[in-house]
Subunit: 220 residues, 2 copies
């Protein structure tokens, strides 16, 4: 599968690139092609040091969106709307994965606090703009530290939701291949809760002086 990660130079996107590169062709997208290329080069080196031969390249966001079969939106909350409005055509008919969280850092406040997007969640906002794409919400609650630490097993679950069952299934398969357990939480509206959990995990990280709090569903 060809996966584009828009904003893939950031911690979360870059960590995902590393974890997904074992089984997929990765395109890291950025506002600047040179930044994307540098991140791709760095990712290839890290993977090479683990004896993983990976196909990763860097492109400008627009070109990355065009080429990806699945497109992950790994852009800070406050920049998402302006970016996706320009990429409607490139994203048409595709699976678009929303991983962002509306943390109050977007307005200079604390990352343990949340903003409340008018549409309820970032994922619902993206779906509203990209009417011809299939939005799946995932990967908000896994720490970038765990993603980047390729030697560590993924102990937490990845919560997934979305209104398109076929698209959700594709993303769940990707997650399972990464060696993580995906939990299907239902329709896209559930992203309101899933995105919120990230602020809670950041609060727990601070309280317990750790850097990789995650969430696991018990009783399943």
């Amino acid at each position: 599968m060809k996966i584009a990660i828009l904003g893939g130079t950031g911690d979360q996107g870059f960590g995902l690139a590393l974890r997904l590169a074992k089984d997929n062709e990765i395109i890291i997208g950025s506002r600047k092609k040179e930044k994307a290329e540098a991140a791709a080069e760095k990712a290839r080196e890290i993977l090479k040091s683990k004896n993983i031969l990976a196909e990763i390249k860097g492109l400008e966001n627009k070109d990355a969106a065009k080429e990806g079969e699945i497109v992950i939106i790994s852009i800070p909350y406050e920049h998402i709307l302006s970016t996706i409005k320009e990429l409607k055509d490139e994203l048409k008919g595709k699976i678009v994965v929303s991983i962002a969280v509306p943390l109050a850092t977007a307005i200079g406040d604390n990352p343990t606090r949340l903003l409340y997007p008018p549409d309820g969640s970032v994922a619902e906002m993206i779906q509203k703009v990209l009417k011809d794409s299939k939005v799946v919400s995932a990967f908000q609650n896994i720490s970038a530290k765990i993603l980047s630490d390729l030697d560590s097993e993924i102990e937490c679950d990845i919560l997934v939701c979305g209104d398109y069952e076929d698209a959700k299934k594709v993303v769940i398969d990707l997650i399972n291949k990464m060696g993580a357990r995906a939990i299907d939480c239902g329709n896209l509206e559930k992203s309101r809760i899933i995105e919120g959990i990230t602020a809670l995990l950041i609060a727990i990280n601070k309280k317990y002086k750790i850097d990789r709090a995650g969430i696991k569903i018990t009783g399943i």
Copy 2:
């Protein structure tokens, strides 16, 4: 410790009564004394069958609130305001534990959907009314099925938050004595997220056809 559970005839409150009765004196509160007494009798019988000698009695909510040192509000969301407004004096200076969730069932909608209380969460609403009490938020995410099943270990964590560190510590100790792990999630505002998680767990229960989905924090 003398713990009153207002609305303790409901599933969640009754389950808590069973689990807390091992180390504490329990007062089950209800709008009707006879209902409270019947629930207390039932709880004593269940515990006796497990060879646990427990002190549990039933009282009307007002009397229960007066007698409890810690008071758990286990009343459906839509009835909380009217109840606590009348109990301000009884609850003054006490630790009040908020366990309710603003599920959309309160307006005849689906339990996997949430209402958004004007104050952000049920716990914050209670704290706003009971200015002279110390509100701690806890126990929203543990299934009543697990609580009532005294033979089963509590595998999930209990998320706790509140603005009073001393009160939070007392509740965390209660939880640890119950044999569960308490996670301190910070200030009372975090209850917005913690309460939301319950709707997510109900959705997961439905999706996976189970009855006791819970949440555990990993990486801690």
